[in-house]
Amino acid sequence: DAGVTQSPTHLIKTRGQQVTLRCSPKSGHDTVSWYQQALGQGPQFIFQYYEEEERQRGNFPDRFSGHQFPNYSSELNVNALLLGDSALYLCASSSAREAPTDTQYFGPGTRLTVL
């Protein structure tokens, strides 16, 4: 049973560029959440996708956008990259059938470095 997978593992971009990160949820899961983890900090909630729609959003600017596909996989897009966007981006999946006591399972993350 494959867990949550993310690609790429590492990414280096320069300021002003755009980046797309990808996530495949755990088998049987239909909900995907994205978190940003800056160095030395706990993860911060960016947004959550269910049924191909953004269901809730954290305190992140519109430069951060996402998408969920019919197979439940998801993308996180960040436009106009800033140095402060350098972080580990974590994807978590869960099952809406188990809500509200569903458990989020995390992928290994994508390390984004903005130069």
Partner: protein, 114 residues
């Protein structure tokens, strides 16, 4: 707004000694509570969770946590630490609404000395 406090940034414990990591939350009602562990360069692995019922929760790898409503705390414990337990530990809370949005503490880094 809900928040999570992990007052210890670093903790060093001798191998075989007991461990307690502190977590306090601020929220008007009883949230759902979680402990996750993160090894270097890795994602987060769930150790245990509390939704309701028995306030003493057992998790994986010999960890347990106790929910104390009066203290708004959810401390993580282990009776005997192994060198492989060295990692970053995160406490998280979630609103018990129709879907989860996890709010994490800043983490406690556990170092295990021989």
């Amino acid at each position: 707004a809900q928040s999570v406090t992990q007052p210890d940034i670093h903790i060093t414990v001798s191998e075989g000694a007991s461990l307690e990591l502190r977590c306090n939350y601020s929220y008007g009602a009883t949230p759902y509570l979680f402990w996750y562990v993160q090894s270097p360069g890795q994602g987060l692995q769930l150790l245990l969770k509390y939704f309701s019922g028995d306030t003493l929760v057992q998790g994986i790898k010999g960890f347990e946590a106790e929910f104390k409503r009066s203290q708004s705390s959810f401390n993580l414990r282990k009776p005997s630490v192994h060198w492989s337990d060295a990692a970053e530990y995160f406490c998280a809370v979630a609103l018990n609404t129709g879907f989860q949005k996890l709010v994490f503490g800043t983490g406690t880094r556990l170092l295990v000395s021989p």
